[in-house]
Subunit: 660 residues, 2 copies
């Protein structure tokens, strides 16, 4: 029988269930700079001795650990808070030990209350204090003080009650806490990690637009044209201007207008059919401008406190230089041709996927990494990644981590409209943000269930939703209805964008098509836009009367003015007796916002909304004074249940601020 | 920037959230021999390729892995079942890979349905089949068949539809599945473990008795006297006869009757004050008999299909040999005396605790291990461990694992009436069974909540409850009420024991005191028995008229005759409109048992019980025929809601069997 021990048997404290811990520590949790980061753990030992515990943490790569004392939170749970100060990774673990001094002090106090302290008890305490004195720095003032306390506790000529009083002083407790005996301390078995992103990772408003539609009329737009649009986008209140791929577009098998297989000569092709004679993923489509023009645009955006985000789509048109320079990165058919994308029986012959099982995966990975580094060099720090779920998960984990080592500020948005487990895995692999099912959650019940999963389930630690009511690929049926003036129904666009912007602190819109209420699908039953910008240049009249840009501007102003809306995780849904009305609130500090939205865009709906102390984070009692930030009208609510009436044409939703 | 990869980049499948997995694989899950063990996992890859996965498993210590195919269970979850065949540990993990053949076959089928299969598609398939042929054993029949299939698929002279038909045969699929290409297979990052116990670990009825009370009158009983009691215990239907410590009892500071500090000369002392002139934890109290007598008793119990369980209490009386032989295992006070047990301001001077922080912990641990091995040598394979939560958790983990290496059959019951996290940690550390809070869950609501936590929470994987309505330390207030004939109230004893025996498949009673309705506390408000056997010899009249032994016998018969009651995890609680009535059912295979118990032991209670298809595992529709196994009366229930009336004096509970 094996009797040798590979453990240190004197360690009596055990540490379990440290939180946050994603998949047993396999993946980091996510937070942003400035967040208070709470770590808790089950910590127990045998017997009745007192326990002490610290959270140990350090910036990844630093040698020195810092420590924060953990406090007892009930039911054998211990907790510590730290503030996350820098972008990057913070490693953390938990260390705990038996605190013999506290055990002794508590016992001595009880014995003293029962008047049964014996001289030997004080000798035991004196030895513990002398031990701390030995641990204090040589010749330090504290060492001297501890030695004095030990001597006085041991001094049999002093009355017991005086020595007990000395043992129980707060000063003695503080001195002892400074030099604990950690000889038999236990350390949690994992070093865990939290990824700390910059603030824009948790609060951002994105605006997607096609640079080529920014020209005059249907002339191919340039980066200079985009630059002319920046004031309009900035005025609406967006932070991120996201551009579809800006690279040369393939000619071979090019798609025409409305995804036709028979393009006209002047059709510009899809920006996602990347690569041509002018280059691939590090090149710029010649009609857009030069690298210098692009860098200039990036800088111009910064002057409006906005950032340019690029779309990185790792797929190649048949004309991409890699096809000939690196045939080993593609699968070949028996006739030697490159395997095009397929979804049998459909073929996509304008697209060649990369082969992530290639024996040359190292050169492929490094080249893909170089694509990101190239655009980071140009000043880009936000990437929207196209279909990441069709590239290998281990690749993304390596790529994002490698980029973050030198560029911790970079934000990655995963455009993975796929099954939940795959979306979550991409988020665990490192994507900062993720597109979501928001676009297809179109009733109060569905939204409540989905947002609860995202904010209450285990995903809350690693999955940051970014809510989009539309994208160039998705014009949801709810936005397809035709209003009386031939455009989309404003209430639908207003409610969907306001919900995206208030349910999630990260949200985005696909550009002029949204604010101009573009509502026509390519055909009935389709979610594709008619005359989609994916295949043609559009001429938008952004100053049209029916634009809801002023509404969007107001929503973004409300977000900026209310910290409650600058985070996603803390949300409470409120009961309403009308199933068409969605009600929820968010509270941060003294700021509470309550949203009531009518999701029936054709009829007035009314109902009673619960606003009980239990349901709002700030407590309080009626009367409540609330101000609708869309109309600046204040209301006084005299009860916990309050009546709302939402008319799609005039007031499709309220965004109330609870007044102090 | 670091660009070297420590990973194999071609692996595209990722495996997450394998279940069961206790604390990220730190601790084993628990099952018993014969159980079907289900393992499931999230398995995803990029793109649209088919995935294949296997559960790999092996007996711990064996070199060779076995495999069971995992099947797709929806929502990216995969699952496999294996039967646990042997006591010990089974290691397991998950391996998964892209199945390019299945991807190709599915695509080819779709293309075939759309009549767009190209010759090149069949060449691709032929290459995949030829690859499997290369992997098949040299000169095997399968190798020959695969080569033939590959040749025929590639044969351009055969019409495409014939070759597609060949590709899609079940036979081809089976051949291909036998030789998968696992070049880029991924293995889950942990090897997990399940502890497989013998069947008694999941189904046992324990009976605790004090051997010294088994003599005639108040003469000190012997092992031979215990042996005379075995037929009575066996007739009642118990499996395990558990004896409090059988070691020499200390004389110094011995406690007298009713825990008095002033014992009479003839007071026998507490069996838990272990150690005296005659020896310590490996010795036998001389008045009980010899080692040979004990071995004889163990063998005699086996002849009744029962086992003797010993109580191991690691603490010492001042007279224990270790106190002088191993002073290094104890803490010493400044005056050189050994530190007695304390709960300030209370002293327990008859007990010296062991010091688990001793520098000599290795010799201490090994000696404590030897105690178990000594009694295992004597034929004992079940231990009830006294207060394990006052000995170090790492010690128990080491000890139980070390014992199990050579004696995998041994069962450990943790007597830790302590906080939930400490109870759970002991179970994770290896204890087979655990005492619980059942004794203090005395209303239907409390029991429902507690049993739901144990059977639905994460503890279900590692914590096996053992329910006891009483112990020598705990006479709950509910059992203290005085019946009209001067004994306890039979309904309370019947309901509490029947609930313990049916809610939990492991349960136990503290002996004659229970069956004879012993109800007097040492003083009002105490849970200690008056004239407790812990401090004196009792003379029990087990043939007394008021004994509920026949009821207990019937309960144990019902347990043995109904597999539904031989497990704890699968339980459903049923609604009842009377809060005094607890209703639940258990179903295993075709056996369904429904228990309705009146937990008001003084008044008749009646109510309507829900027995809907949703609430019973077997489905079905009214009329239901149920037989009360306590009275053998059958009832026909014509609806999902049924009326029950429970009279404490005649029918305090029903135990219904649902008839086919």
């Amino acid at each position: 029988m094996a009797r040798t021990h590979r453990i240190k048997g004197q360690r009596r404290v055990v540490i379990d269930r440290v939180h946050p811990e994603v998949d047993g520590g396999r993946f980091p949790a996510k937070r942003v700079v400035g967040d208070t980061f709470t770590v808790d753990a089950d910590i127990v030992a045998d017997g009745h001795d007192a326990i002490a515990a610290v959270l140990r943490y350090r910036q990844r790569g630093k040698a020195a650990w810092r420590e924060a004392a953990m406090t007892f939170a009930g039911n054998d749970r211990w907790s510590a808070d730290i503030t996350l100060e820098r972008v990057g990774f913070v490693e953390y673990t938990v260390v705990a030990w038996i605190d013999h001094y506290v055990s002794w002090r508590d016992g001595t106090k009880k014995k003293h209350d029962a008047a049964v302290v014996e001289p030997a008890d004080l000798q035991i305490g004196a030895a513990l204090v002398a031990g701390a004195g030995n641990r204090a720095p040589a010749r330090s003032r504290n060492k001297r003080r501890l030695t004095e306390v030990a001597d006085r506790l041991a001094d049999e000529t002093t009355p017991i009650h005086q020595r007990v009083a000395l043992a129980l002083t707060e000063k003695t407790a503080q001195l002892m806490a400074a030099y604990p005996d950690r000889t038999n301390a236990s350390t949690y078995r994992h070093t865990l990690c939290v990824r700390v992103d910059r603030e824009r990772a948790s609060f951002s408003a994105w605006y997607e637009l096609f640079p080529r539609s920014c020209g005059r009329g249907t002339t191919h737009g340039t980066f200079a044209d985009v630059q002319r649009h920046l004031p309009h986008i900035a005025e609406m209140g967006f932070d991120v201007v996201y551009l579809p791929p800006i690279h040369p577009i393939g000619v071979t098998k090019r798609k025409g207008r409305n995804n036709s297989l028979t393009p006209e000569a002047h059709d510009p092709g899809s920006p996602w059919a990347i690569g041509g004679a002018a280059g691939g993923h590090t090149a710029i489509h010649p009609e857009l401008g030069t690298y210098a023009d692009f860098v200039h645009l990036v800088q111009a955006a910064k002057s409006y406190q906005m950032e340019i985000a690029l779309d990185i789509a790792f797929q190649c048109s048949p004309d991409h230089p890699w096809v000939t320079e690196h045939p080993e990165w593609f699968i070949h058919r028996p006739d030697g041709s490159v395997q095009y994308a397929e979804n049998p029986p459909k073929k996509y012959e304008d697209i060649y996927p990369l082969d992530f099982e290639t024996h040359a995966w190292e050169s492929l990975w490094n080249t893909l990494l170089d694509v990101f580094l190239h655009w980071i060099e140009a000043g880009v720090a936000i990437f929207r990644v196209d279909n990441p779920h069709t590239k290998s998960f281990p690749f993304w984990e390596w790529l994002i981590d490698t980029v973050h080592q030198d560029h911790p500020d970079v934000i990655f948005l995963a455009e993975a409209f796929t099954r939940p487990k795959r979306m979550y895995r991409l988020a665990k692999a490192g994507f900062t943000h993720s597109y979501t099912y928001f676009t297809w959650r179109n009733s109060p019940g569905d939204l409540r269930e989905y947002v609860t999963e995202l904010t209450r389930g285990e995903a809350r630690e690693f999955f940051r939703p970014n809510f989009w009511p539309n994208t160039p690929d998705i014009l949801h049926e709810d936005l397809q209805r035709r209003g009386p003036d031939g455009h989309g129904v404003p209430a639908a666009f207003k409610v969907r964008s306001a919900l995206a912007a208030t349910l999630s602190s990260n949200y985005g819109l696909y550009g002029p098509a949204f604010e101009l209420l573009e509502h026509e699908p390519v055909r009935s039953g389709s979610e594709e836009y008619a005359n989609s910008e994916k295949y043609e240049i559009r001429d938008w009249d952004i100053s049209a009367n029916h634009s809801i840009a002023p509404f969007i501007q107001r929503i973004n102003e409300i977000r900026r003015g209310n910290v409650a809306l600058q985070q996603t995780r803390a949300i409470t849904f409120h009961s309403c007796d009308n199933p068409h009305i969605l009600c929820f609130s968010k509270t941060v500090g003294g700021n509470t916002i309550l949203v009531c939205a009518n999701m029936d865009y054709s009829s007035t709906q009314s109902g009673w909304v619960e606003f009980s102390p239990a349901a709002i984070a700030r407590g309080g009692r009626p009367p409540f004074v609330v101000t609708d930030l869309l109309t600046d009208i204040a209301y006084t609510w005299r009860d916990y249940w309050n009546y709302v009436e939402l008319d799609p044409e005039r007031t499709p939703l309220h965004i109330f601020r609870l007044e102090p």
